[in-house]
């Protein structure tokens, strides 16, 4: 069948379509007008009326500021410190404020010190932050989560990164530390050559069920690339480190993670740095037939293995159609009658989502549907058309003659008007076998969300990319119906023994249901 290269699953497609539609409907000009006129309206903010000084002030001068300030004297110190932080003031000014407060009241509130700490950490004054740590630890019984995170960040940047570990332990008692906290410590450990603790923490992240941040991976790969500088100190041999990094790539494969350009860079650098091998990487793309343009090798097929296929089929029936309550999407009776229908009919080649296809045009939907069914019949494919019972009622949209013709050319099943027809579509396609495809523009995201675990969802998405036919563009009267091409290869981190192919995001706005089109091809040819 005539097929076209752009696919609804390719990265950037959704963004392009939105732009095109915007231009068509001239909404863009209206939006620009709106955006120009509106200033965001702010309510009275706590730092309004305060002016941050540009040099360190003496306590007398601060006293004058305090008296002239519009806010209450008790809150002056905290508000002024917040203002200094927001305006990015120098550290000395903040210190002078703290001195003034110390002289005035003899003590400082936790909030004030916390704001000061934020200023230090943002400005990168780590020594100051360490001092703060001593003071705050002494002055207050415990630290809360905000201060803990800031201290972890500050410590990880310095030599004494190990001090961050007890802070993390304390945090764990009350809340689950975030991936950002772990990322900071792992980065700090690697900067100072301690590889074994870094990997231990990485394992902890995975154990908690969190997804490591791309920054963590980047730090790990860069640490590896820096080489065997201090592997004795780190407690890990380069071979072991390499194994672990390959494990990271395996994780990215299993969880369908696509790295950004800078992470892909770090991966490439690490591969290049491996001694004794001749890894060479290049940025490339893949031809529509599934052949890498960099090294000429074929990529993995998008078809599922038989076990994966049976697993998916079972889950679709159990979770999408039946779910917790079969009556949500259909009725028990209807489901049984559909199962019987599918059993007695021959195996299908294409299953058509009747309503979705017909509604490409407004008015005279039955003509559209007839055109598509005729095209499929012309190509000799056994077709099943799914619809709802109201399509059988004659009207301007659903012409009786057209519907009669459709029922002659293809097998049809009409569900109740109150049931959903998409789950039946998925079931019929899966039941007919691997060669069967379904025709719809619906991305089935709401049904994919009914699946219980990430593995099944990824299998569903993989199966969908390999089996969903989408009508290309619009269908004009008298023109043949064209379909978008289904890519024969799987966009996932993959490797043969001597090559690695890593798809990455190359500064394209990619939606969650799209896959990237750019690849990093690594080959190890001596």
């Amino acid at each position: 069948m005539p097929s076209f290269p752009t696919s609804v699953f390719a990265a950037g497609n959704a963004k392009r379509t939105t732009e095109m539609l915007k231009r068509k409907t001239a909404l863009a000009s209206l939006e620009q007008e709106d955006a120009a006129g509106d200033q965001p309206r702010r309510r009275g903010f706590k730092t309004d009326g305060l002016v941050a000084p540009d040099r360190p002030l003496s306590p007398t001068e601060w006293k004058k500021q305090l008296e002239e300030a519009p806010c209450s004297p008790e809150r002056f110190d905290v508000h002024m410190m917040t203002l200094l932080f927001k305006t990015g003031a120098e550290l000395d000014i903040a210190k002078s404020l703290l001195t003034f407060v110390a002289l005035e009241t003899g003590t400082m509130s936790y909030q004030l010190l916390l704001q000061y700490l934020t200023l230090c950490v943002k400005g990168g004054h780590d020594a100051e932050a360490l001092d703060c740590y001593q003071i705050m630890r002494g002055a207050f019984p415990a630290l809360e989560t905000g201060a803990s995170s800031l201290f972890i960040k500050a410590f990880s940047r310095t030599e004494s990164w190990r001090e961050a570990l007890p802070i993390l332990r304390d945090m764990k008692k009350v809340i689950a530390p975030s991936t950002r906290n772990y990322s900071d410590i792992i980065g700090g450990a690697l900067l100072h050559g301690a590889a074994a603790p870094a990997w231990q923490l990485y394992d902890e992240v995975l154990g908690e069920g969190l997804t490591p941040l791309p920054d963590t991976w980047r730090a790990l790969f860069e640490g590896g690339a820096r080489g065997g500088r201090a592997e004795e100190e780190g407690g890990m041999s380069p071979a072991e480190y390499g194994e672990r990094l390959l494990g990271v790539l395996g994780y990215m494969r299993d969880n369908q993670v696509y790295p950004e350009r800078n992470l892909a860079d770090a991966i490439k650098t690490w591969f290049h740095s491996l001694p004794g091998h001749h890894w060479r990487g290049e940025w490339t793309t893949v031809s529509p037939k599934g052949v890498c343009k960099g090294c000429g090798s074929e990529l993995e097929s998008i078809q599922l293995t038989p076990e994966e296929y049976t697993h998916l089929e079972a889950r679709v029936m159990a979770d999408i159609i039946q779910g917790k309550d079969v009556f949500q999407k259909t009725t028990a009776e209807e489901l049984e009658s559909f199962k019987a229908f599918v059993k007695r009919k021959p195996v299908f080649d294409v299953v058509v989502d009747g309503l979705n296809v017909a509604n490409i045009v407004k008015g005279r939907q039955s003509e559209m549907l007839l055109a598509v069914v005729c095209e499929l019949e012309r190509q000799g494919l056994t077709t099943l058309v799914l619809g709802r019972k109201h399509m059988l009622r004659p009207s301007a949209s659903w012409d009786r003659r057209n519907m009669g013709l459709i029922q002659k050319k293809a097998h049809c099943f009409f569900t109740e008007n109150t049931s959903e027809d998409d789950p039946f579509l998925l079931y019929a396609t899966l039941h007919s076998g691997n060669h069967c495809r379904f025709l719809s523009r619906d991305l089935m995201r709401d049904h994919k969300a009914c699946l219980p675990d990430a593995l099944t969802r990824r299998l569903f998405f993989k199966w969908q990319r390999g089996h969903q036919l989408v009508i290309h563009g619009t269908v004009a009267q008298g023109r043949r119906v064209g379909f978008q091409m289904i890519s024969p290869y799987d966009t996932i981190v993959q490797s043969t023994g001597v090559s690695w192919h890593v798809p990455y995001d190359d500064s394209v706005d990619r939606s969650s249901y799209e896959v990237p089109q750019s690849w990093l091809c690594l080959t190890n040819k001596p």
């Binding site: 539609l21 909030q111 002494g138 989560t145 008007n417 109150t418 995201r445």
Partner: protein
């Protein structure tokens, strides 16, 4: 504002200042144990040090606060030691030990950090807090507790103020026999509140014997979060009170109310045991299909394809008692389908120009609508209880002005763009790029306008019978317009 220095801190300061090289203070101004004015210090200091060593003066100046804090820590520690020796026997251990204590500490530190956190938190709340997993859920719960505490404190303050005023007033004018205000002399009989209660009680009893039953289906406990459950219980309270005060109350049945369930526990807690027993409603753990015959039951749900045109006094209407803030489409319709019940929905689209908002209504809005339609038979009066922010007024007003040419043209091809679920004209379109991406310029407003054009005809037809099932529909004549085109 002069701070109060402890003796030791002031001694420390004194030592620091002397180290910094200032000699320009007079000993006379520093009596032992008294507060010293920093003003005199600073002016003296700057006069001396600015010219000669500005950097050093600044440096020592800037890190002064650290020394102050450290010294204070030393002071505090010594005080703590003393205190601990005093209250040795005082145990502040919490039962589950580490986690609860740590949670309590976290709450107090968050309070010091300026987050929205209650001042006092009970053990039960700490336990609930510790069981919440994510940081954001903890913060939200604490915010809820803080706001509740704020309300309580405010009302307490008000009470205190009132009490103080009253005492003051009594002090000035003590209530003796001479000062008592004179008894009102009027020919009108004084009205007592409990007379109304008695009247409503008789009305309620009559409704229980002879009134039309109205069922609230309480089987959705498993589908609601604890907060939603509390909200639905509050709504049930309002339903009961609204029904009691109406002219001709329904006989309320709360079906599927499991005796051990959280729903019943909360209801009894809110009413108190005695009041709950005295309520003139029926509660039963049975299903409504077991209590009433199948032909009489009609489930009112927003997902139904059938529109309720007239209120039938012989039918028993069922309303699902569910609050779904995270809207669960089709849940009540699924229960109706499972039990093979007739379903219907309110004629919101036929009478209201819908703007934006979910077409699910709260329980008290439903009871008011049903009571009004029962009493008056007028949908305009009944649907006035739909929140006004959701719609733009009734259709009748607009029809007068636009009666002319538009009505005739729009009959023919106004079929829905795509076969949506039963939400006609709903602004809440959950389909993303799902149902077709190309001609998706249909916003809520667009669909609303399409349906507007359709419903220009006066809506005064009253059907004699109510065909509530799709089975019935099939049996009627084929020339009838399809369900989604009903006006």
């Amino acid at each position: 504002m002069m701070g109060l220095f402890s003796r030791r801190v002031s001694v420390e300061l004194w030592r620091l200042w002397s180290v910094s090289g200032t000699r320009h203070f007079s000993i006379g101004t520093f009596p032992t144990g008294q507060v010293c004015s920093p003003r005199s210090f600073s002016s003296g200091r700057f006069l001396r040090t600015d010219a000669s060593q500005p950097d050093q003066g600044d440096k020592i100046d800037l890190d002064l606060w650290k020394s102050v804090m450290r010294s204070q820590t030393a002071v505090d520690e010594s005080i703590e030691d003393d205190k601990e020796q005093v209250k040795k026997g005082d145990s502040t251990d919490y039962p589950s030990g580490c986690v609860l204590a740590a949670t309590r500490e976290l709450v107090s530190m968050w309070r010091q950090a300026g987050k929205l956190v209650p001042d006092k938190i009970t053990d039960q709340d700490v336990k609930t807090l510790a069981e919440l997993t994510t940081k954001s859920s903890k913060k939200k719960y604490l915010k809820f507790l803080a706001i509740r505490e704020g309300h309580k404190n405010k009302s307490k303050e008000k009470q205190e103020k009132k009490r103080a005023e009253r005492e003051q007033r009594l002090a000035e004018f003590p209530e003796t026999l001479e000062n008592r205000p004179p008894v009102k002399n009027s020919f009108l009989m004084q009205y007592r509140d409990h007379w109304l209660d008695r009247l409503l009680g008789w009305r309620g009893a009559q409704a229980m014997n002879f009134g039309q039953p109205l069922v609230f289906d309480m089987s959705y406990e498993a589908h609601m979060t604890p907060q939603e459950l509390t909200n639905s219980v509050s709504q049930m309270l309002e339903v009961e009170s609204c029904n009691r005060r109406s002219l001709d109350p329904f006989h309320l049945h709360l079906c599927n109310l499991q005796p051990e369930g959280g729903y019943r526990q909360q209801l009894v807690k809110r009413y108190s045991e005695d009041a709950w027993d005295r309520l003139l409603i029926t509660e039963t753990p049975q299903r409504h299909v077991d209590v009433f015959p199948q032909e009489q039951l009609v489930y009112l749900t927003a997902d139904s394809p059938n529109v309720l045109r007239t209120f039938d006094p012989s039918k028993v209407y069922v309303v699902g008692a569910m609050v779904d803030r995270s809207i669960q489409t089709g849940r009540s319709f699924a229960t109706a389908k499972r039990l093979q019940m007739a379903t219907a929905r309110l004629p919101l689209d036929q009478f209201l120009r819908w703007e934006i908002g979910a077409k699910t209504l709260t329980l008290d809005q439903m009871i008011r609508i049903l009571l009004t339609i029962k009493d008056t038979g007028s949908w305009e009066q009944a649907l006035a209880f739909v929140p006004k922010r959701k719609h733009d007024g009734f259709y009748q007003e607009k029809k007068q002005s636009e009666r002319g040419g538009t009505a005739a043209r729009d009959r023919g091809d106004r079929y829905p763009q795509r076969d949506q679920r039963e939400r006609q004209g709903s602004a809440r379109e959950p389909w993303g790029a799902g149902r077709g991406g190309q001609d998706r310029g249909v916003s809520g407003k667009g669909v609303g306008m399409a349906w507007e054009r359709e419903y220009k005809q006066p809506v005064t037809r009253i059907r004699s019978s109510q065909n509530s099932t799709t089975e019935d529909r099939r049996r009627t004549d084929k020339t009838r317009t399809p369900w989604y085109q009903q006006d």
